[in-house]
Symmetry: C2
Subunit: 201 residues, 2 copies
């Protein structure tokens, strides 16, 4: 059996094989920006368009991560860091499984975003800044969080009483105050295409 | 934009759509058993065979989870529980993404294994007991862990100074002391097939 272990170890399905089979690269696209800027919406638009082209993408965002894997984390400095660490590690697993991951999270700290880049060094990683003024985000307030933050019910809310540090060198900036969802989604798809994610050598 | 959010929300690629596209179900197959019983080996054998049939499976095991996502967890009672909780939640994400997950972990406690079943209630979940006597596992000792446990270098090692509670009603028992890897892998594949995982209505 030990002998078999050795033999069968080579049988693992490697990432490169999955990439060749799916005919596209796997990796991580981080969408950072204020709550209400449209990160998840853009990511899901791209996911849908890619699905129609047989490209296997998956969106990680507050909806499916905060209520599950990271449900035991709050918003302290330490917990925010652990939140991102887990997202990075799950993204690594998804990338290994051949999928393109969109991670749509506020990710307000430059330092924490650098962690993504470091863990995905020499891997396929893109940073997209979904830019939108606080005024517009607050007006949209899709989950009523800004209202609660203004009322002091939620503390340390990014943009209100916790800072958002703008990315300095993102791979793409999408200004959603001036761009409709179709155009925004297309910008993201073009980026992925131009960066060579949709071909496998 | 808020209006767009609503419109595009329907655009999310749902699990059912991925299942239809891949032409197989997604879900979780837990392989439980002593260290050295052959859990990962069997899981990877099945993964490889399924890949050849265009079925998208992925193995979560100590190799890719303990060193990444769960690298900040030890082996205390509380940490073992959190270890499994995260594995369950990651499996949920993979299942949502249309994949069949093999979770190959010792999972020595009945209570913790019940947690898997509860979280995957009404979902596709199978429990496979990879059975092998401690004597044989210890003889194989692929990572030299039993030797360390016997020497007291590793504490609370399952089978040595921490109990393994045998599953009472697993969906399948594979006795790897008497079964070669090819037969064992085929037993797992037959189970998946018989349970209807490889067809989508």
């Amino acid at each position: 059996m030990q002998k078999n272990n050795v033999i069968w170890h080579d049988k693992y399905v490697k990432r490169e094989e999955r990439n060749r089979f799916f005919k596209h690269k796997s990796g991580l696209i981080l969408l950072t920006g204020l709550s209400g800027s449209g990160k998840s919406t853009i990511a899901h638009y791209a996911e849908r368009e890619l699905f129609a082209r047989d490209v296997h993408a998956y969106v990680l965002d507050g909806d499916n991560v905060r209520h599950g894997l990271n449900s035991n984390l709050g918003f302290s400095r330490e917990h925010r860091k652990e939140n991102l660490r887990r997202i990075v590690e799950v993204s690594k697993l998804f990338a290994d499984a051949g999928m393109l991951v969109f991670a749509a999270f506020i990710s307000p700290n430059k330092e924490n975003r650098e962690y993504f880049r470091t863990r995905f060094e020499d891997d396929n990683f893109l940073e997209v800044y979904v830019k939108c003024s606080l005024e517009v985000c607050e007006m949209r307030d899709p989950k009523g969080q800004y209202k609660k933050a203004r009322a002091g019910i939620i503390k340390n809310y990014t943009g209100i009483d916790s800072p958002y540090e703008e990315p300095e060198n993102p791979d793409l900036v999408i200004d959603t105050a001036r761009t409709d969802i179709r155009t925004a989604g297309q910008m993201l798809l073009d980026l992925i295409d131009n960066k060579g994610f949709l071909v496998v050598e």
